[in-house]
Amino acid sequence: MADVVATHETIVVVGGGISGMTAAVEAAETGKNVVLIERAPSLGGRVSQLYKYFPKLCHPTCGMEINLRRLRGNKRIKVLTLAEVTKIEGRAGDYRISVTAHPRYVNENCTACGACGEAVSAQIPNPFDYGMSTMKAAYLPSLMAYPQRYVIDPSIIGTPDAERAQAACKYGAVDLDMATETFTLTAGAVVWATGWRPYDAGKIQPYGYDRFANVITSVEFERLSDPRGPTGGRILRPSDGKEAKNVAFIQCAGSRDRNHLKHCSRICCMASLKQTTYVRERFGDDAQSTIYYIDIRAIDRFEDFYQKVQADSTVRFVKSKVANITEDEASGDVILHGVDTEGYHRYDNRHDLCVLAVGMEPSVDIRTVADVAVDASGFIEMGSTNGGIFGAGCASNALDVNRSVQSATASVLRAVQVVNRVAKAEG
């Protein structure tokens, strides 16, 4: 990566999701040089795996297109994909950042013509669909992938498949000799935007995510509802491919729970409210959605959306933390057991599918990389204690997309302050 030029006036942004991309373009459009580092082979992050955003029910790719255009057209931004930050040393205005870059086995000659994908036969689980579908081992990570370049999966390196991929490429873009590189970058400030990961639903034992096929997570449900997803958006349940018209949503699956995550993950209520509209969109009046909740947290104008969903006759609300789930082995249906605490009503409700609104936890433990203050949940604490390293988006708190972008924009100013001080000092 000798071609990466970074100075004490450079802002390094770690994480290429919505927060990181925002931070990168906002900083670059303020006239700063940026290196954007993403672990995956393309930018976009978790939001690119969402079908729609609440409360507008618009599509994440819409904003993504604009951000990518801003990014493509801006010479101040250098993007590194398949790269991970392993260590950050130094202080505000003078950081040395160790980076490990994993091989893509495809160079910049790639035109994304797709020939290698056709040549390869091996299928691998598709991470974009959380493994609910498979894809060729030479692939374009997504239709919106940036960089718009194919990836050869390491699993086929050294196999005839890899040779076939190389042979199929007319442009010498497939380079099987690529190897892992490690190098060090200089930076004045760091925006840490590594985002969140869904809480491990298997740990919530009473809900049997690890035992019952038709108990899935909210992020998986996004893929099931997306026309570009594994079921072409036809909400088919895993056990038998039957249409899931009667769907249960369990709130606080892992959140607000001393046995799991003690914080409230903020987005889950709105996410489930939104997902009832997917069921409605797909099955019309045959849809049946039930939300099991403790408190519906639809703050500020989100309240409008809550009231809109409440008005939908196909959606039921049950004030209850579900006690446990059992499976009807014959049908594969899930049966939720518990008590509606508004007036004490016991239920044993049968559903086609149960969606766990899983909580958010930071996707990376930054303490393994840098000396930074975090809260009890591992989110980066705001404040000056962190020198020139600033948390952005869900690395700093459980936030929705809009607040993540706000947070990213704010973190850019904090980074700009640092590099401007440096610039002044260096004259």
Binding site: Q205, P206, R211, T326
Partner: protein, 302 residues
Amino acid sequence: MARKEYSFYPGCSSERLTSASNYMVSVESMCKKLDVQLNEIPDWNCCGASIGYAEGGELPRHVMNARNLAISEQVNKGQDVVATCAACWLGAKETKDRLAHDSDLLAETNEALREAGMNLQYKGEQEVRHMVEVLIEDLGYDELKKPVVKPLEGIKFAGYVGCQTNRPFGIAGESFENPKYLDKLVEIVGGEPVEKYDQKVTCCGGALAFSEPEKSQAQIKKIIESAYDHGADMIVTPCPVCQMNVEVYQGQINKRYGTKFNIPVTYYSQLMTVAYGGTAKEAGLNGQIIRAQRLEEIAAKR
């Protein structure tokens, strides 16, 4: 010198001619085979059981358990306390747990303890553990497999863990909803565990067996039905209360619900004793009201 020694708290139901005497017999045989020595706590008393709460209240129950632990600290120095009964284990462990976090309660407990003989004082020096914990953690599955000479081939066991061996403390590394250790033990002795036995941690209503028979028997029915549905030949359990309830009420349940239940309910220790080559008597199989014939046959084999 045995390879392991423990301070042993048998509990009321393990005495001669009591409801779990067969458990006791098999535990003794099992431990002999495994070269584990149990040193009974002298003049131990009842744990009070969970049902003791109404009349006993809080402190008296803790005091009862503290007395046993204090005697153990005095007599069986440096040994972990081991119980075979879920209630005894839980009672003692809860007391240890509460007294460790509540100095007032500790003071009050010792104040009362002084009234008993042997000028006792509870210090909380010893761990309180269940026999199953000891087997899994101190010996380990591999060690437990070694002595097997008569694998219990072809017998399908529903591993019924029940409540108090499982909650709130449970066995380290096991989940409350789907603990696997009983199934592992069954595998080790060559038997076949029931996959997806969905009632393995259902409460048998033991505490209410006498006072609310119809309610507890409704629970037991679920437990047995699922065992049958999943093709089990026998039920195996680590808890004397569970064993007794699930075994002895089958007749009444059949009357009440017109079912035809007649499934043996055994202890893990009985399985191991037989697999280790012990006789039916050594395994306390003669203590089964519903005979565990398949086990007896294997035990009878040369």
